[in-house]
């Protein structure tokens, strides 16, 4: 009997699924039509940056996945800015929407289910102009993807094409965005890029296939591809998770060096707080599709405020910090299809009190840069004002 009742909790009848699927198709078709337009006037997606010092501004981004089981709000109102020449760290557990945020910025979401529902992603262009990526059709996005904004993917083992040589995969990027370059010039540029990422025998590597390279070398090639056109923003989605510590140190070193060399900004996505502390200038902590805390790296690591950030820090064993037992956050992430209407962290939080039973907490400023979404700090913010 117990089994039956459990089944009914998760059970969806064929009819419900059909109805949801039909409704989803209706919604996604509208988004798809907008994305697939050709010959769109640039004025339609032109915009201006709120702060000219930023290269990327994400404002109230909402990315939903319309699945047959229901709508998954993978990213639900995320806002952050990336200043020029800085590194922003995006931290959180798997499934918290880090990767979906980055894929939204690149417009590489799994379509047609995944769609940017609302919000703005402003990317700076030359002469003080900017574009809103959420309003861009695919044809226009193809021109800036890889040139102004590029991405380093998590798995170097699977993100290179196994049937093409390293050289031709790099040539493709450079040739595509610089149509007036000669083939020889492109090749020279490719070899230069390979040397830039510390690949010793770059001319030999040019003629190699991905399977001939080790994981660290492949990740270098991925970085070379991402940096080939000197983008303004590099999104690094867990660039070192699949690598060993020694190789990780090499890769982070290259990333840091090249960022300054080509004067771009990095959005670094990882779950390793150590990497964040080392690389990032500002940190954004995400939980269940929302930002729970953001601030400069000192603020986050010296004064972590949100209970989730605290839990995350306590649960990571740190060399030369001795604890008897590691802290572990109780409970699980809420079901993404039926998110509660109160604070998403309340059921796992050891500090929950009366206001937490109300609606989702607003962002409370602890300092001009440090913001946290938790009612625990409501009072201190009120008294300050």
């Amino acid at each position: 009997m117990a089994r039956k009742s459990q089944k009914s909790a998760n059970y969806l009848s064929a009819r419900t699924i059909r109805r949801t699927a039909k409704e989803n198709r209706r919604i996604t078709r509208q988004f798809e039509q907008k994305l697939n337009r050709k010959h769109v006037a640039p004025s339609e997606y032109a915009t201006t940056m709120k702060d000219p010092a930023n290269v990327l501004e994400v404002e109230d981004l909402k990315t939903y996945f319309f699945t047959d089981a229901g709508t998954v709000k993978a990213v639900d109102g995320v806002s952050f800015t990336v200043p020029r020449g800085k590194t922003i760290g995006l931290v959180g557990e798997s499934g918290c929407g880090k990767s979906v945020t980055s894929l939204s910025i690149m417009q590489l979401l799994q379509r047609p289910q995944g769609q940017i529902v609302s919000g703005a992603i402003r990317l700076t262009q030359d002469q003080g102009q900017a574009v809103d990526i959420t309003q861009m059709p695919i044809s226009a996005m193809e021109k800036i993807r890889g040139k102004d904004i590029s991405m380093i993917f998590q798995e170097p083992m699977t993100s290179l094409n196994p049937v093409f040589k390293i050289g031709s995969q790099l040539d493709e990027v450079i040739g595509l965005h610089n149509p007036d370059m000669s083939r020889e010039a492109v090749k020279e540029r490719t070899i230069e890029m390979l040397e830039l990422v510390s690949i010793a025998n770059s001319r030999a590597v040019y003629d190699m296939y991905p399977h001939q390279l080790s994981g660290g070398m492949r990740q270098r090639v991925m970085i070379a591809i991402a940096l080939a056109c000197s983008p303004k923003v590099i999104i690094a989605d867990e660039p070192t998770t699949a690598l060993d510590v020694t190789i990780q140190a090499q890769i982070l070193d290259i990333l840091r060096r090249l960022k300054d060399q080509i004067n771009s900004s990095i959005v670094l996505i990882t779950h390793d707080l150590g990497v964040i502390a080392e690389m990032a200038d500002e940190v954004v902590v995400m939980y269940a599709g929302r930002i729970v805390e953001k601030g400069t790296v000192e603020e986050i690591f010296k004064h972590p405020s949100h209970p989730y950030t605290l839990g995350l820090m306590a649960s990571k064993p740190v060399v030369s910090r001795h604890v008897e037992r590691l802290y572990s956050i109780p409970g699980n992430v809420p079901n993404p299809i039926e998110m509660p209407d109160y604070c998403y962290f309340r059921d796992r939080c050891d500090r929950a009190f009366a206001p937490c039973f109300g609606e989702y907490p607003p962002m409370i400023s602890l300092s001009p840069t440090h913001k946290v979404a938790c009612y625990c700090y409501q009072q201190s913010a009120d008294t300050k004002e």
């Binding site: 117990a2 089994r3 557990e93 798997s94 010793a200 080790s214 994981g215 660290g216 070398m217 060993d244 510590v245 020694t246 190789i247 990780q248 140190a249 090499q250 982070l252 070193d253 779950h271 390793d272 707080l273 150590g274 990497v275 964040i276 502390a277 080392e278 790296v297 000192e298 690591f301 010296k302 839990g311 995350l312 820090m313 649960s315 990571k316 064993p317 740190v318 060399v319 030369s320 604890v323 037992r325 590691l326 802290y327 572990s328 956050i329 699980n332």
Partner: protein
């Protein structure tokens, strides 16, 4: 089985105590090529490792991917055939056992796999996954069987109603709990944990590590913990073995190895750990290049191609095991002044050092002195067993001492390198002249030594 054990115990008392003893273990995989599939070479996955493990301990093997950690774990369990050496489990050589004896021994040695997503059969309910092996091995009488499985599941943080569910209904952390329950259900003494937490999220990692440590205390388990995450290793282990290209290059107690990493590879490995503190001053040793192919490892010291202290001797001679501190053994020519030990003697010292550390931690000075070897003076023991605040001070002092010691080493190394450069330039100058004329005595000597 009981008879077997006692007969062995009467031979040597020491061997009866230790749970596992690995002696000069080698695992080579043949490389076959051509039409006839002739063996053209060997991949030396594990190349001469030796250590001992006593009940209730955790030994960690750390190293880059491809250094043979996993193969070592599998060879110890006789899941991959060995090429040479012995593995003694409770005094019995597991490679001498016939199928029946091995089957009887299997429940005592278990393995937890790395990836909880692919190591559970998707077609079996969880209850069956856990119960299958104990039923085959008749671990408990039939009447108590269900209660026993429920107890194991409860110990691993699973609910009895999970028995009828399938693995796909669980999250990664829950699946790893199922894997642990499966291993634990056979009432093992020894578990090889092959990267049990590397596929999990940070907060889930903490739960699983806590679970492993709780179970160790509860069942007196012995772990061989294979991992590349040094922060996890530091949290869980008593002993540490650092592997590089199939070799155990450094081993010692956790405290020793983390306080004073001796081998240049260990130093590089430790300096590469990212520290979650933005103020932390990075003094990183970045290793150039990547790990050489184990099919064709470099001659001499295998690490010499990437070592920043590489000397002429490193390219020619395989370094023996030097015992730099009691129980801290390192295979590196830099420590040539220290006594050379057999690998297993080093393990015994390691064990004693661990006991000392444990006793020192619990403040039992008398027993600490009793177990301590003659080399350890009473003052040292006392300094380790001071009261809580004082201990923090002395820890700082120990660290200071370690740092000073490292500085001295560095200076010494710099001198050595400067000497070497001088010699090399002299040799090169001589070769340029290409004249067999009068050679200064010292340079001809050094040239000989270079050759």
């Amino acid at each position: 089985m009981a008879n077997h054990k006692t007969s062995n115990a009467s031979q040597t008392t020491r061997e009866a105590q230790e749970l596992l003893s690995v002696r000069h273990l080698k695992t080579y995989f043949p490389i076959k090529s051509g039409v006839l599939q002739r063996v053209t070479g060997y991949v030396k996955a594990v190349d001469d490792i030796s250590f001992k493990l006593y009940p209730g301990q955790t030994m960690s093997l750390v190293g880059e991917s491809g250094c043979g950690k996993t193969t070592a774990g599998r060879t110890i369990l006789r899941l991959t055939p060995k090429s040479a050496g012995d593995v003694l489990f409770e005094g019995k050589d597991i490679y001498q056992l016939d199928a029946q004896e091995l089957r009887a021994l299997r429940p005592q040695m278990q393995l937890i796999f790395q990836d909880p997503y692919s190591s559970l059969s998707p077609r079996m309910p969880v209850g069956e996954i856990i119960a299958e092996a104990p039923r085959q091995h008749h671990i408990v009488p039939k009447a108590q069987f269900d209660a026993y499985i429920d107890k194991i599941m409860k110990d691993c943080g699973l609910q009895p109603y999970h028995r009828d569910r399938y693995p796909h209904e669980f999250s990664g952390g829950q699946r790893q709990r199922i894997c642990i329950a499966r291993a634990l259900a056979l009432n093992p003494k020894f578990i090889v944990c092959d990267e049990p937490v590397s596929a999990l999220d940070v907060s889930i990692q903490a739960q699983i590590i806590n679970l492993l440590m709780d179970l160790q205390a509860q069942y007196n388990l012995t772990y061989l913990f294979i991992s590349h995450d040094l922060s996890v290793v530091e949290h869980i282990s008593d002993l540490i073995g650092v592997m590089y290209l199939g070799d155990l290059v450094e081993r010692g107690t956790k405290k020793e190895v983390f306080a004073r990493p001796l081998h240049p590879y260990t130093q590089a490995l430790f300096s590469a750990i990212p520290v979650p503190d933005p103020d932390y001053k990075m003094n990183r040793i970045i290793l150039e290049g990547s790990i050489p192919s184990p099919a064709n490892p470099p001659a001499g010291c295998k690490f010499h191609t990437r070592c920043r202290y590489c000397m002429a001797i490193c390219k020619q001679q395989v370094p023996p095991s030097y015992e730099v501190e009691p129980g801290h053994v390192v295979n590196c020519h830099l420590y040539a002044g220290s006594p050379v030990v057999d690998d297993l003697v080093g393990s015994d010292d390691m064990e004693q050092q661990l006991t000392r550390e444990k006793l020192a931690a619990s403040g039992d000075i008398a027993a600490g002195a009793a177990t301590a070897r003659g080399q350890l003076s009473a003052e040292e023991i006392v300094s380790e067993t001071l009261k809580e605040e004082a201990r923090a001070d002395s820890q700082g002092a120990v660290l200071d001492r370690g740092r000073k010691w490292m500085q001295e080493r560095e200076q010494q190394l710099e001198r050595m390198q400067a000497d070497r450069r001088q010699v090399e330039t002299a040799a090169a100058a001589l070769q340029d002249e290409a004249a067999p004329a009068v050679r200064p005595d010292d340079s001809s000597k050094t040239e000989e030594s270079l050759k």
